[in-house]
């Protein structure tokens, strides 16, 4: 019985090392060539911030403020699929899309009718994320 316990302990230790190595190897994976054909769905996250820029007269009033409730849409031009979200009270947004697409990200709605840049192009060719896809909406007094 003692011999069996030792064997089990050794096997567990060995398995833990191998599984740990596998997890570490996968966590640091760099996928250069994109997603394989017919592979399980992988995700890509696009995030950023939208702010209002107030055009002030004589320097009065607020200059900038986070844009809450602005619709941000990411349209995949390859597969014609769109993802939509709204900015929070700090103007932040996050869109989770699938990997393998060319996304046109654009804001709309809110207090502004003109955002700069009007859209951003994000190429999601591997699992991961793209941060700081930011927009500014100009608001007339």
């Amino acid at each position: 019985m003692r011999r069996k316990n030792i064997a089990v302990l050794c096997l567990t230790l060995l398995f833990a090392v191998v599984l740990g190595t596998q997890i570490a190897a996968t966590a640091n994976a760099e996928t250069e060539n994109g997603q394989p054909l017919t592979s399980p769905v992988t995700y890509f996250t696009i995030s950023g911030n939208v702010r209002y820029q107030f055009l002030r007269i004589f320097g009065l009033g607020k200059k900038e403020q986070p844009a809450e409730g602005v619709n941000v849409t990411a349209v995949d031009k390859f597969h014609h699929v769109s993802y939509e979200t709204q900015t929070d009270s700090n103007g932040n947004y996050t869109i989770t899309t699938q990997v393998g697409g060319l996304f046109i990200v654009s804001p709309s709605g809110g207090e502004s009718t003109f955002y700069t840049p009007p859209f951003a192009v994000v190429h999601a060719n591997h699992p991961g994320q793209r941060t700081n896809v930011n927009f500014k909406g100009f608001v007339l007094p």
């Binding site: 966590a27 592979s39 769905v41 597969h79």
Partner: protein, 361 residues
């Protein structure tokens, strides 16, 4: 406890979804499966009465030993950075193959599990619910599996359990309809072919009263003929399949005896694509989209023979023991895996059923 682990691996693993790895659907399932198989092995190891080589068929032991030796040779002579753990999208390397082989042996030693007849129906209903709410690329349902064809393969494996566990005709018909609905939601053509061949098996066995041997032979012939379908549809979806198969065949032929090494299929296919100069060069291919070609590319004729030997042993023992449910499941899985890469869910199901053919009658 051991039965619960097998049930987890076969029926509950499909619902594992955790936000880490390249695919939140596949990678956590692979880790969970490896861990569960190891725990299962330890539990069986402690039960000394069950561990005996005499319980296994000699052919199974020889085939498994040959496969193990082949993987060792691959690790020594053909090792690449993805040989042992596989690529980051599927993790189907030598390590997973060893674990699956271990699962085949350990699960075959356990008595058949007994579950409530409601259990399988509930699992199928939950998967149907997720198929409705989780879609993949375009409008194809992916459920909790993460890929439409893999979802169809899972359903092809699942519905016979409801059919054979329930004596009520309503449940039997309901299970088939529910399975067809999920497969239609996934828009998996291979899934439709698989369920058609399973139903053809039913028709031959129960309506025409053919022997299991004859029915199995006819269904296997139908399966072989179904492999011709991609060649008739050059413009559509199947176009990729024929090109991938051609590339895989070329990759296999370059190292016909011992193959390109288990886990190395991605590199072998990439090298073949460069020679072929087909449209696949634009995509990343990490599977032959046919399980027989996968084994041929990775293990050569030796590897393919081992795999065919496992299948032959399973089919013969199921026919001899009149295990109709296992025959239906094995046929469905084989058809499904003849057109698509294997997900961890399909591999677990396949190796479980192959394990059933490894023990002596």
């Amino acid at each position: 406890m051991t039965s619960y682990l097998v049930i987890f691996l076969l029926f509950l693993l499909q619902f594992v979804y955790l936000p880490f790895g390249t695919s939140h659907f596949e990678i956590p399932k692979v880790y969970s499966a490896e861990l569960a198989i190891f725990v299962l092995f330890l539990l069986v190891l402690f039960d000394q009465e069950r561990i005996s080589y005499h319980r296994f068929r000699t052919a199974s032991l020889v085939s498994s030993s040959l496969l193990f030796a082949l993987t060792i040779l691959d690790l020594i002579f053909l090792r690449t950075n993805i040989s042992f753990f596989g690529n980051h999208f599927r993790l189907q390397g030598i390590f997973l193959l060893w674990m699956l082989l271990l699962f085949s042996f350990t699960s075959s030693l356990l008595p058949p599990f007994k579950m409530s007849r409601w259990f399988f129906l509930i699992i199928l209903c939950i998967q149907c619910f997720f198929a409705f709410i989780i879609g993949g690329e375009g409008t194809r349902a992916i459920g909790t599996i993460g890929e439409p064809n893999a979802l169809a393969a899972d359903i092809v494996f699942l519905w016979p359990f409801i059919y054979f566990y329930n004596h009520n005709k309503l449940y039997k018909v309901g299970s088939i309809l529910l399975a067809v609905l999920i497969i239609l939601l996934s828009q998996s053509r291979s899934g439709i072919i698989a369920i058609c061949i399973q139903l053809a098996f039913f028709f031959l066995t129960y309506k025409l009263h053919m022997s299991l041997k004859k029915s199995t032979m006819i269904c296997l012939i139908l399966m072989v003929f179904s492999l011709l379908l991609p060649f008739f549809d050059q413009k559509g979806f199947y176009e990729n399949r024929t090109q991938v198969w051609q590339s895989a065949l070329m990759a296999g032929v370059t190292h016909p005896i011992l193959g390109n090494g288990f886990g190395n299929i991605q590199y072998a296919l990439q090298a073949s694509e460069k020679q072929f100069h087909n449209n696949l060069g634009l995509s990343m291919i990490d599977s032959s989209h046919n399980i027989f070609l996968d084994w041929f590319v990775q293990g050569g004729i030796v590897g393919l023979t081992v795999f065919l030997s496992f299948l032959y042993q399973a089919f013969t023992i199921f026919i001899q023991k009149k295990e109709t449910p296992y025959l239906v499941i094995l046929l469905g899985l084989l058809v499904s895996l003849s057109f698509n890469p294997a997900s961890i869910i399909a591999l677990i199901a396949l190796f479980w059923i192959l394990g059933k053919g490894m023990v002596k009658m």
